[in-house]
Structure formats: structure tokens, C-alpha cells
Amino acid sequence: MLLAKIPGGFFKREGRPSEKETLISRLIDRPLRPSFPKGFMNEVQVILTVMSLNPEVQTDVIAMIGASAALSISDLPFNGPIGGARVGYINDNYVLNPSLSAMDDSKLNLMVAGSKEAILMVESEANELSEEIMLGAVMYGHEQMQSVIDVIQELKDEVGKDQWPVEEIEKDASLVKLVNDLAFDKITSAYQVADKVERQKQLDDIRNHIDSETNDEDSEYDASDIKDEIKAIEKSIVRNRILNGDPRIDGRDTTTVRNIDVEVDILERTHGSALFTRGETQAIVVATLGTERYSQIIDALEGEYKDKFMLHYNFPPYSVGETGFIGSPKRREIGHGKLARRALEAVLPDMATFPYTIRLVSEITESNGSSSMATVCGSSLALMHAGVPIKAPVAGIAMGLVKDGDKYQVLTDILGDEDHLGDMDFKVAGTTEGITALQMDIKIDGITKSIMDDALVHAKTARLHILDKMNAVINKPSDEYSNYAPSIITITVAKDKIRDVIGKGGATIKSLTEITGAQIDINDDGIVTIASVDKSSGLLAKEKIELLTKDVELNTIYEGRVAKIMDFGAFVTILPGKDGLVHISEISKERVESVDKVLTEGQIVKVKVIEIDRQKRIRLSMKAIENEKEEKTIDEG
């Protein structure tokens, strides 16, 4: 049964956007943005409000279709409609828009958005699937979403408003000529400089030079137009060089991955650490292991749940030599963190049984393109260094594509400067076995299946190359967790023993915690998690719990402590919380006048269990052991 909620907290209002809301906003922004005409610069705000929810229906696809419909019938110059679809892969078949519960069986969670002609965006997480299956899913999704596009088009034809005209921005031919004359050759040679910092210095000098040449009092040219023209020149220089097969900005050919440097164990007191450097992009990734208490409680609309895996991506301004505001993560940082998390999800141990909560933090310390994929590589390394038994190492690579007419070039491992001028950028992460995450953004029409196929082949080669570099440093998870990580021991006790461990009002578990110094949690299934700073106290707690939950066995001899003397016998504690009665007639073969003459409270005695009755009452005997001893002596004699 589902009921609506009232927000918690003091204000009882929805607060700032949750991570999920931010991610879905970003997911919808990506295909909408390229669907507006170039030069349209009016502020546009799309608000998508979930007002009623069946948790089985995944809202992202519905919201995307809603956004497309609202834009299509509006008077804005939207080149839609666009459609969206989620594709799952269940029992070797593609499934369109599976329900939330059906996703449990799916090896793939892929969102694709597109127009009638072109695929615009792909976002996905997969369980080590091949390039072929991934590409098939993209094509399947695009095919299936056509019905959405057709219906929105019908709606648009019936009720759509006239669209606002978009002014074609006419370039000032004299300005174009002036800037080209002043700067073309200089910019061309600046782009021969491989080092990013040096190149940017030269480009700044060129800009300043042009400014000083054109920017006098009575200049007829606008400074921002000049800037735009310089950018246009830069873009065309870089694109043409790529299409002509000339070396790239930093001197590489199209398929070479930048130089890779891998280190682990760089921060002594952390539980796992790695430094991953690829060219001018660098990430320090740190893994921290905590107990289940440190899992994140996600208060989702569909219901609250605990998340035992966290990945936080930080992009401090110093990484690109800038100053800036340090605050809560930006949309971009949340998006990059999520992508890296998706890439790793398939190789994590089963988190339901894995005792630790894992937090990964990626600090981008240098950046020139593809820091999210550096985060993937660094995370895989840090996890292995921390001793987390991941199924396989994961690496990621950012790719670009430049297309002009029938000519196209795929670019492996793109730089920051190559990021914005390509026609398609995509990121692929995976193991040697298959893809775990694929993200694509396509800005132009005419990217065919075979082009994408070609691009994915290049991405695979690069991924395998990076995995080799990583494996040369660490190729399997460390055998032991760090000494600074909490020790966690898990044991299972029978369900009917749970209350023995907890005790009356928690008395037993509390005293166990005090005696051993370990933190002990027990759940309804009888799974006991013992966490401690040092392993020995954890082991002590384990031993004590095992004793507590041990069953008393008939005909077994125990060493017990006399707990209480009675007229008719003595109660002896044989296991923690388990007392049995030695009747006066069972103390000795000889007649015992009075119990307190032979036994005292606190005395350690050997007793044998001679009966456990239906009410679980235990009868013990000391006499029986005497008898056994005698028989033994007789036998030996």
C-alpha cells in the first residue's frame, strides 16, 4: 500500500534537489540542448513536476517525453519532437521500458533519447556486456521511441503554436577577414604546442594582440564578436587537422592514449589509495571502509533505502589553475560521480553480504579532459588496494568524433580542448570482459550505426591498453584490509538464539560490547556483525557469542561454575546463561548429608548432562563422571 508523504524536518517543505532529481534534470537537459537552433540565446526553463507516483513506473522516461511534448507545442523554436526510451536486457532479449522490479533481472539499464533521424544521447549501466549488445540496445531504443515522436508530432500539428523566428546571426565579413588576417597563422602555430599551459599562454597573447589592434575608441567591432570569431578559427583549425589526419593538438595520432602513470598506497593512514595520471589529467582516489552504520539512508519517494556504496567526485578549481568557490557539489560533479559509480557497480562484491560500507572519494588534482574516466580507473585501483574483492578491474576512456560530410575520425582519449569541438563525445568504461557504463552525446545528424560501431571498437582497444597499465601495478585485490580499517567479522546464529545474544532489554549485547570493546549488531536473520578497531577484540566477541549460542548437548561433560547452592542440590552454569541442576543424589556416589559441605558457590566442577527435558531444563551429574572414571580404571587394570 502506498501513501503520500509529508516532508520530514522542521520546515515540512521539499528542500534543495536530491541527487536523483539533479541527475534526471541533467539527463533531460542533454538531448534538449542540441535540439534548439544555433544562435537562439533566450532563457528557457523547463520544469517537470512529479505530482503522482506509481513507484513501478520509472519517471525519467516519462518526464523526458513530457518535456519534449511541452516544448513541441510551445512557441519556442524547438527542433523536436524528441523521444526517449529505457532499454533493459533480460534473458538475452531487449526489453522496452521495464518496470522498476523487472530491472532486478536486467543486465542493462540504458536510456536513449533521439529525434526522428538521430540518436542524441545515451546513458547506461551494464553488467559487462559486449559492444555489439550495447549498440544493439541503442538502435532498438531509437527504433521503439519513434511511436512517441509520431504522437507528439500529431499533437504539435493539432495544437502547436507558431514558433518564434530565430534571427540568423550574420557574421560581419570584414571582422572575419580582419581577425583571420591578424590571427589565423598565429593560432595555427599555437595549436602546435603540446603543453596545455604553454598553449593557453600563447593563445592569450594572440587574443590580447587582436584586442589591442581592434579595440580602440572608435572601433566598429564588438569585443565579444571578436572573441567568437577567434573561437571559430580555433575550432576549424583543430577539426581540419583531425580530418586531414595531421597530429592532434598535443602531437598524438587519433588512436594513441596519453601517457599513463599508476600508483597505489600513496596515503599511509587511508584504507586504500591510488594515484592515476593520464597525460594532464590526474585523480587521487581514496577508499574508506566503514561499518553498516555508515551507509547512506536515501529518502526516496519510492521508499527509504540504505546505500552501502558511495562515490564522491570533486573538481577543485586548482586542478585547472584557477581560483574559485568551494561549496556543495555542482550538477556536473554529481553527474561525473554517478557515471563513475555506474562503471564500478557491476564489479562490486554482493553488497547485501559484504560487511563494509564503501566510500570512494576522487579528488581531481589536474585536469585536461576526461576526469570522470580517470576517476573510474583510480577507483578500481583504490578498491583493490583496500582489499575489496572486486570481480575485475575497470577502466574508462573518453572518446570523440569529428565528422564532415562522409569523412570522419574517431579520437581516442580526448583533451579538454577537443571536448567541445567534436560532433560526438562518448565515454566507455568496462572490464576486459565487457562494458559496464556507456555515455554518449551526439550533436549532429548522420552518425550511423557503423560509425558508432567503429568508435566502440577504438574505445575497446584503448580500454584494454589502460587495463594493462593498471594491472602492471596491482592486478588483484589485496589479501588483507588496512590495519587502519575497522575489523568486521560476520557470523550467523540460529534465529531462536537471537534473543540470547541480545538479552533482556539488550543487557547481554551491551555487556558483550563493554567487555570486548567491539561494536556488535544483530539483524532479524541472525546475522551478527562484529566491528572493532583491532581484530583481537572482534575475535573475543565472536568467541563469546558462539559460546552464548551453543546448544547444551546430552551426555557431554562441561566445566561449570557452581551458581547457587540449594537444599536439594546445586545449580551449575555450564554455558553463559545456561544453568543445570545437580541433584543432591547426583553429587557423589557416597551419600551427601548437606550440599554446602561438598560444594561452594563459585567452585569449578566437572558435570555431565544426563537429561534435557521438554522445558529445556538441564539435569547434570557429577557422580556419572566418577563412575566413568572407575570403569576406565577397571578396564585398564
Binding site: E21, D29, Q45, I47, V50, T59, G66
Partner: protein, 77 residues
């Protein structure tokens, strides 16, 4: 503008798009419903672009209202 609705079949799911009734001052708006999930999608825009605007100022805000649904009934007790 008169009220109008359209149905789309996507996989096993039927999606209903309705317009012309809600949020009529926005540049465009639809109510979109699928098996109990309803989202109001609206779009609004400024008539004039800011001078020297160098990038396309598009913002997308997806928001979930807690009144939409919840699981834990104890929250209302």
C-alpha cells in the same frame, strides 16, 4: 486552446498526454500520465535574449513532490 489528449503505447505501457487545461500561461505545458504516475511538464521562456549572451541559457528542473507517493505509512501517524 481547447483541451486535447493523445495516447502512446511504449512497450507494455500506455502513456497519456493531455494539454490545454493546466498551466495555460506557460509557453507550453502538458500533463503526462503512465499507470498512476503523473508529471506536469512546463516550459517558459524570455521573449528577448540578454545582450552578449554567449551560451544557451536552458535550465531543466525535475522535481519530485512528496505528496506524489510514499511508502512508509508511519510517517503520517
Amino acid at each position: 486552446m481547447s483541451e486535447i489528449s493523445k495516447k502512446i503505447l511504449l512497450g507494455d505501457q500506455e502513456i497519456l498526454i493531455e494539454t490545454g487545461k493546466i498551466a495555460r500561461q506557460a509557453n507550453g505545458s502538458v500533463m503526462i500520465t503512465c499507470d498512476g504516475t503523473t508529471i506536469l511538464a512546463t516550459v517558459a521562456a524570455r521573449k528577448e535574449a540578454k545582450p552578449n549572451q554567449s551560451f544557451f541559457p536552458l535550465s531543466v528542473n525535475y522535481q519530485e513532490k512528496t505528496y506524489a507517493a510514499g511508502k512508509d505509512t508511519r510517517r503520517l501517524l
